[in-house]
Every structure is written in C-alpha cells, then in structure tokens.
C-alpha cells in the first residue's frame, strides 16, 4: 500500500485531464453533428 505521491505524477494528471476535457467537448460537438439534426446521409 503506497500513499506517497509518485514523482512526476503532475504531468500525467494534466494529460488525463486534457483527454477528459476532449471527451466533454466531443459530447457537445456530437449534438451538432447528429445525422438526425443535420439530415446528412452518412457516406
């Protein structure tokens, strides 16, 4: 069992946070691009 903060963990947290933010942004963007909204038939 380790409780000590591992060295260099901060940059990993930043990366994971950025990826999670991308997912949140994608959730918004997808609503604009739903074929039911745009009416665009997929290629």
């Amino acid at each position: 069992m380790h409780t000590q903060e591992p060295k260099g963990a901060m940059w990993k947290s930043v990366i994971i946070s950025a990826v999670a933010l991308l997912v949140l942004a994608a959730m918004i963007v997808v609503l604009f691009n739903l074929p039911i909204v745009t009416g665009n038939v997929p290629q």
Binding site: I15, L22, L34
Partner: protein, 501 residues
C-alpha cells in the same frame, strides 16, 4: 481475477483518483494473458458496433442466412464482453465473422476487411492452441503473443497506406480534401469551419498523426506518445457524423490493446478489476457495462426520437446512426481515458522487448493486407485497399498520386474504363448524368451479370456498345475468384478529385 489489486489509499477519497495514475495501483499478480481479457472485451464491443452498422442485413434484406449470422455475431459479441475470459467464445465470434464476411465478399468496407484479417488470426491462434492442448486447459499466453504481432503489423500497414494513398493532388487541396470534409463538421460549432488555415492544418495533421502513430508502434519507449496522438484522432473522427466510423475506431482501439506493452493492457485490467471490486454498480463486471450500455442506448434513442419530432421526414438510418454516435461518444471516450491512463501508469517505460519469433502465418496475414493495400497501383482492386476517403485516383492508366502519375500496373483490370451513356438501371442512370462518371469494365460486368434484366449502353475505347445485357456482354467475364476478391469504386474524372469512399 488473478491476485488482489493493490489500491492506493488516496484512491478511496473520491473519483479524482482517475486523474492521478500511480504505478502502485498495478496488480502485480496479473498475467500477461490477462491483457487478452482486455482485448476480448474491446473486440466484442468492436464486433457489436460492426454488426450494428449492417442494418440492411439484420433486417433480412440479404437473406435469412446472413441475417441469422449477423444477429449471432451481435449475440456472441455480447456474450464475449460478459465472459471475456472464455477464449472459446472469442474463437466462435471470429468464426462467425469470417463466415459472414466470406459469404458477402467482395466487401468494400476497409474496417470490415481489417477486422477479417484479425478474426482470421484469432481463429487460427485460438483453434491451433486448443487442438494442441486438447486434453488440458488452453494456454492463453500463446495466442496472446501471436495476436500481438498480427495486431501491431495490421495497424502499421493501415497507417502506412493511410498516409501513402493520400499523397495526391485531391487530398492536398483544401477545397476538395477528405480532411476538410471531416474538419468542417467538427469545428463548425466553434466557428472555425471555413478557416483555410484550419483546413490546411487538418490535411497536415492527418500525415503528422499517422506518421507519429506508425513510428511509436515500433519505438517502445514512446509507445504512449503514439496512443496519446492516435486515440483522440480515432475517437473524434466518428463524431464528425460524416460516415459510420464507430466500428472502425473501436476496432483500432482493440488492436491497440494488443499492440501496447503487455504491462499496459494488464494495468488496464488491474484498474477494471479494482473498479469492479469497489463500485457497487459494477459488481457484475463487464456484464454491468453491457447493462450500462443498454441503458445509455435507450436514453440516446429517446433523445434521438424526440429530436426526430423536430425534423419530420428523417429516415430510420439517420436515427440509427445518431443513436450509435451517442453511444460511441460516451463509451469510446471513457475507453480512451482509461487506455491513456493505463499507458501513463507505466511511465517511464524501460522494459526491454520480450517477444520472440512466431510461426509463419502470423506474418503472412499482415503481408496479404500489405499487398491488398498496394493493389490500386498494381492495376487490381481500388476498394478495400485502405484508400478510403483519400481522394486517390488510379484508374484508366493515370493517377493523381504525386509519386505515380502513371500507375505501374501489373494487371489490366483498371485499364478499361467505360463511359455509361444510358441504362434501364435508375440509380446508375442518375449517376451517369455526371460527365466525369465512369466505371471499370469489371465493375460493369458484375452489375450486368448480377441483374439479368439490366441493359447498359456504353462507350469503351471510343467504341459504342448499345443496350448490352448479361447475355450480350462481350468483355471479360470475371470468374468466381475475381468476383470474390476484386472490388472497384465508381470513377470520378474531375480534378481535383472530390472526396468519396
């Protein structure tokens, strides 16, 4: 589950542990082949998405046998996700996928073709190991090590052609590039859709991302950079709504679970096992994930259904695609976060390579995919050659590829291009209105031979052929093998070439 996962104390303090990966949470008792369990879950998901994309087959439009096979694929995929340790279900699923693929050949979908190569590898690897250990328990480490090699090479070849085919005048022109076609819907909500700089960025980014991905597949120390660059790329592409890309993206995610170092996939396994132990709602493991997916799908379908009321006249296909897009956005996103997290858990990565040489068939399967990708330049097929959405033209002895103005044909299937003048096929007649529209003679032969009532008037090499039917067709009649293997895109002579499949 093997062994007990070591859980850091801070992990119990709330959901923020997701953002604070620590190597200490890795289950050191996990076996390398536990990574196969992770792959099995993701492969099951990918095959489910692939099956769901074939709505016309599920409806029975292509016959009862294919409908039953496709529903069986979805059922077997769900069973596999719920029982990922049962390698035999993985083999059954791959067997079902291979069977339905062979029956439907030729198939133009590139992701279904890549999935076919992987399913073939899974089937051979698991079955040969099962036969070898007929009386004892199947050793999952052996197929896992074989499949790792196949998956890495399939990804590498896919990225190689993903870049190589795109070195053409059409893709590099922002007005016509397929990169623009994907860039615009993704940036429209932010107001950047018409930015020329953004379009050039999208074109350049395609080469840069796929280049980094291919290098990092083989540069072990920086494998995580490849993941960090390519997973968001594959995650975001379906969200454009331009095409049904979810099955392709989930297939790539699954292949990455075999390509990454063994410790990464088993690290993800450790996190999954820990979550199952800690979260009351996930006690049922991956079965709980299936339940969550169904609940989310129903919620998504309700949202899409309600939206459809605002846009009357939208067809079922649009509703179906929209619902799966919502499912992908959540589940693909969660998968991406956890895969990247598992990769970061292992940083800095300094474990030496541990793979050994494998049987010849392990290398033969990617080698066939490599030849398949080269086929547009060799005068063979233009579909299923990883040239999707690449703006590439190779037919009629000319190409828009910057390295091959004249493709080095070894076969003449693409040499004969017909111009359709008239036909009783309504869809074809509509397309033939476009003066830039053409068909490879092989493609015309397939259409005529597949429809005895159809006639076409066309021009080939300056010679007029009037009201030709299957009976009066004088060109080369493809044999069974040619019909199964060779598949051609309709030709568009306009320059720069617009974005088509």
């Amino acid at each position: 589950m093997s062994g007990a996962a070591t859980v850091p104390a801070r992990a119990q303090s709330g959901p923020w542990w997701i953002f604070r990966p620590a190597k200490t949470e890795r289950d050191m008792a996990a076996r390398p082949s536990d990574s196969l369990v992770v792959f099995a879950v993701m492969w099951g998901m990918a095959m489910m998405l692939s099956g769901a994309s074939r709505t016309h087959i599920l409806r029975g439009d292509m016959g009862l046998l294919l409908a039953v096979l496709n529903w069986s694929v979805i059922g077997a995929a769900a069973l596999l996700v719920m029982n990922p340790r049962k390698t035999r279900i993985l083999a059954i699923l791959s067997g079902l996928m291979i069977t339905q693929f062979v029956l439907r050949m030729p198939i133009s979908s590139n992701n279904q073709n890549i999935a076919f190569y992987m399913n073939l590898a899974i089937f051979i690897a698991v079955c040969s190991e099962a036969i070898r250990n007929w009386r004892t328990k199947l050793d999952r480490d052996v197929p896992y090590e074989q499949l790792r090699v196949v998956a890495r090479w399939l990804l590498a070849i896919m990225y190689f052609y993903g870049m190589f085919h795109k070195i053409n005048t059409g893709f590099l022109d922002p007005q016509f590039s397929c990169a623009t076609a994907l860039y615009q819907p993704l940036t429209r909500p932010f107001g950047f859709a018409e930015s020329l700089l953004g379009e050039y960025f999208a074109i350049a980014a395609t080469f840069i991302i796929e280049g980094i991905a291919i290098v990092c597949l083989f540069w072990r120390r920086f494998f995580w950079v490849g993941l960090l660059v390519s997973l968001p790329f594959h995650y975001v592409i379906p969200i454009s709504g331009y095409s049904y890309y979810m099955d392709f993206s989930s297939l790539v995610f699954a292949l990455y679970m075999l390509s990454v170092p063994r410790d990464v996939a088993s690290g993800l396994y450790s996190t999954g096992a820990w979550l199952v132990r800690r979260a009351p709602g996930l006690r049922a493991g991956t079965s709980a994930v299936i339940v969550l997916a169904v609940v989310w799908a129903l919620a998504g379908a309700a949202v899409v259904g309600a939206t459809a009321l605002l846009f009357p006249g939208r067809g079922f296909a649009l509703m179906w695609h929209s619902t799966w897009l919502l499912i992908w956005t959540l589940f693909g996103g969660v998968a991406m976060v956890f895969i990247i997290r598992a990769a970061l858990l292992e940083q800095p990565y300094q474990v030496p390579a541990g793979g050994k040489a494998q049987s010849w068939w392990v290398y033969a399967i990617p080698a066939v995919l490599f030849m398949s990708g080269a086929s547009p330049y060799l005068g063979l097929k233009t579909e299923s050659s990883i040239a999707m959405f690449s703006n590439l033209h190779t037919e009629g002895g000319v190409s828009n590829h910057l390295l091959f103005p004249k493709p080095p044909y070894l076969f003449d299937y693409q040499s004969k291009v017909v111009k359709v003048l008239d036909t009783n096929n309504e869809r074809l007649r509509e397309r033939a209105q476009d003066p830039n529209f053409g068909l490879v003679e092989h493609d015309l032969a397939l259409r005529l031979l597949g429809d005895p009532g159809m006639w076409v008037s066309y021009e080939l090499n300056g010679q007029l052929h009037k009201r030709v039917t299957a009976d009066t067709f004088t060109g080369h009649r493809p044999n069974w093998f040619e019909r199964k293997v060779l598949d051609f895109k309709p030709i568009d002579w306009s320059r720069p070439k617009p974005c088509t499949h």
